[in-house]
Structures are given as structure tokens and as C-alpha cells.
């Protein structure tokens, strides 16, 4: 009777030992998994996007020659538009819209083709003469009356939200206006 009791006692302590061992192993495992999960792997592409990609896109776009607006670069076209925004800018080639609409249509297509269609990136692109105000009408020029002289391009028709839903990598590029003011171009690449 006593022996059976002792044997049961021995079995009980064995089970407690195993349970303690398992608890220790599970705790160690949880600690290890926790470290591995919260350890952020280096992501050069994200760093590249944040540091250079958005800037390079604007830089290259501005130096691109238009196909049918007197061969002007997009920098010239935007400068022309900003200085004559009340009239919609100067005339482009015959049968083509004026510089403001020309820039809007073509920049929209370039960015859509490269960023959205080829890279699957959501983005938000805007141009303004006021560095602190990039808001406004999202589908076309914000203000053609010339009062605030801010205008906006939007990357989207319907499918992309006007602003990045989560975090974004933003770069602002500055070019001088003909009148001596600055024009600010901002590209937010959603990540």
C-alpha cells in the first residue's frame, strides 16, 4: 500500500519535472521567436525608395523632352504653365492642348505607366507654388483663376486613394518659376 503510494508519488514528481521542462522550453522558444519576429531585416529597396527613387523620378521627368509641345522639356512646360496659369499656359504644337493641360495629361500618363503599371506602386504627385499647400482638386488643376496659383496632379482616377493609406516616402523638388517664385513638385510613393 505504502509502496504503491510511493510509486505514485514518484510518477507525480516525474510529470511535474516534465511539465517544468516543457514550460522552460516553451518560454525559451517564445523568447527566441519573439526576437526573430521583431528583428527588422534590412530592406535596401525600401531605403532606396525613401532616399532616392522619388527624387530620381521627378528629376528624370523634368529633363524629359515633350513629344509634341515644341520639344520643350517638362521643366520648361511646368514653368510656362505656372507663369501663365490664368490662361492655361502657352500653346503647344497644333492640335495639342496648352502647356498646363499638356503637362497634366502627359505627367499623369508617365507616372501611371511607370509607377502604377510597371512597379505596382501607389503614389501621389502634386505641384504647387506654395510649399505648405499641396491640397486641392485631385483630378485636375486646382486653380485656374490665378489667385492661389496652386495646381495639383493626382495619380488616380478611382482605384488609388488620394493620399497614401499607410506610410509613404515623400520627396519635394524645387524649381524656379519664370517670375522668380519657386515651384514645388512633391512625389509621395506609398510603401
Amino acid at each position: 500500500m505504502n509502496r504503491t503510494k510511493n510509486s505514485r508519488k514518484g510518477m507525480g514528481s516525474d510529470i511535474i519535472g516534465i511539465a517544468i521542462l516543457f514550460v522552460i522550453i516553451i518560454l525559451a522558444l517564445a523568447f527566441y521567436i519573439g526576437i526573430k519576429v521583431f528583428e527588422k531585416p534590412s530592406a535596401p529597396q525600401k531605403e532606396y525608395i525613401s532616399s532616392k527613387f522619388a527624387y530620381d523620378v521627378i528629376d528624370v521627368v523634368l529633363r524629359t523632352n515633350s513629344a509634341d509641345c515644341k520639344g520643350l522639356s517638362f521643366k520648361d512646360i511646368i514653368q510656362d504653365c505656372a507663369s501663365k496659369i490664368s490662361s492655361g499656359g502657352s500653346n503647344c504644337d497644333d492640335g495639342k492642348p496648352k502647356t498646363c493641360t499638356y503637362a497634366e495629361d502627359n505627367l499623369f500618363n508617365i507616372l501611371k505607366t511607370h509607377l502604377k503599371e510597371k512597379e505596382g506602386m501607389s503614389y501621389y504627385f502634386s505641384i504647387s507654388t506654395n510649399q505648405d499647400d499641396f491640397e486641392g482638386n485631385l483630378l485636375t488643376w486646382n486653380d485656374l483663376s490665378g489667385t492661389s496659383k496652386s495646381f495639383n496632379f493626382n495619380s488616380t482616377e478611382k482605384d488609388i486613394p488620394a493620399q497614401c493609406p499607410a506610410s509613404k516616402r515623400s520627396k519635394t523638388y524645387q524649381i524656379p518659376n519664370i517670375a522668380g517664385e519657386n515651384i514645388y513638385l512633391k512625389l509621395d510613393v506609398c510603401v
Binding site: I18, L29, I33, A43, R63, A67
Partner: protein
């Protein structure tokens, strides 16, 4: 006799108990080892991918600075620009094939493609024209796959179009495109 039977039974029970404990410990150990192994294999894969990404970014930054492709005027290199005539020459000539060892040390196993976005040729054509500048696959192509791709915007300078002027580069036209770097593994 009965006592001996009881002792035998008890010894049997104790042995069984020990076997069960050992089995549980072994199974637990195997599970733990499996989880550790899986996590380590996963993080090794992540590290390998990160290295590939890093290489792709470095290659993208190197390409437009190469004398074989760079846009220059008075020996000054223009940033983020590729000379289309040089790129076409590099593609059609055997320069890369004849010096594959040299280019391999720079670009490794990768595919570098130049793609024009604007202006798109008429009539609207998907896909837009692309120029494969470099394509070096590992020896066993059946096991080869792309694991990472990055793209960087690039100005495609075409000096053969003399009707317009492309900034500091002079006569010619500058088109919008991108360089696509795909890493083989």
C-alpha cells in the same frame, strides 16, 4: 511468488514510465529542433534576399555611370542618363560576350533591361520597346529563377534626333524610361 510477481510488475511499470518520459523528451526535443531549424532557414533566406536586393540597387546605380552607357558632354557625366546609341551598340556588338568575366564581376548573374515609357512609339503598342543590355544566367538555366527586381528611372538620351535640345547634353532628345535590374539565383 505473488510478491515476486508484484515486484516484476512494478519494475515493468517503472521501465514503461521511464520509456514514456524519454520518448516525450525526445519528441519535445525534435519539435523544438524543427522549429529552430525552420526559423533559421527562414532568416537565412531573408538575408540572402536582402543581399540580392542590395546588389540590384548597387548595379542600378553603377549602370548609368559606366562609360559604355553614360551620357557625357565635355567628359562630364550626366546623372541618371543612358545614351541610347551607346546602349544599342553595346547590345549589338560582342563587347559584353567577349568580356563576360569582367562584366560578371560587376553585374553578377542578372538581367539589365532598358525600357522606354515616354514617348511611347506610335501606334500605341504594348509592350513598349525594351533593350536588354546584359543577361547573364547561371550555368544551370533549368534551376534559374528571378528572385528580385528593382527599377530606377532613367533619362534615355537619343542624339540622333536633332530637332530638339536635351539640357546640358545639347542636340538630341531626352525620353523617360527606366532600368530594370533582375537578379538570378
Amino acid at each position: 511468488m505473488n510478491k515476486k510477481k508484484n515486484i516484476d510488475k512494478k519494475a515493468q511499470l517503472e521501465t514503461m514510465e521511464q520509456i514514456i518520459v524519454i520518448m516525450i523528451v525526445i519528441i519535445g526535443g525534435l519539435i523544438v529542433f524543427g522549429i529552430f531549424f525552420k526559423i533559421n532557414a527562414g532568416s537565412a533566406k531573408v538575408e540572402k534576399l536582402a543581399k540580392l536586393e542590395q546588389s540590384a540597387v548597387e548595379i542600378a546605380q553603377l549602370v548609368s555611370g559606366m562609360p559604355e552607357l553614360a551620357c557625357t558632354r565635355n567628359n562630364v557625366v550626366t546623372a541618371n542618363c543612358v545614351n541610347l546609341i551607346k546602349a544599342e551598340k553595346l547590345k549589338t556588338s560582342d563587347i559584353i560576350t567577349n568580356n563576360i568575366q569582367y562584366y560578371h564581376t560587376i553585374f553578377g548573374f542578372s538581367k539589365i533591361t532598358l525600357q522606354q515609357v515616354y514617348p511611347s512609339p506610335l501606334p500605341p503598342p504594348p509592350p513598349p520597346p525594351e533593350l536588354v543590355i546584359y543577361d547573364n544566367k547561371p550555368e544551370k538555366p533549368e534551376n534559374t529563377k528571378f528572385t528580385h527586381r528593382i527599377s530606377t528611372p532613367i533619362l534615355i538620351y537619343d542624339p540622333s534626333v536633332a530637332t530638339s535640345s536635351c539640357f546640358e547634353l545639347g542636340k538630341g532628345t531626352c525620353n523617360y524610361g527606366y532600368l530594370s535590374i533582375e537578379m538570378y539565383t
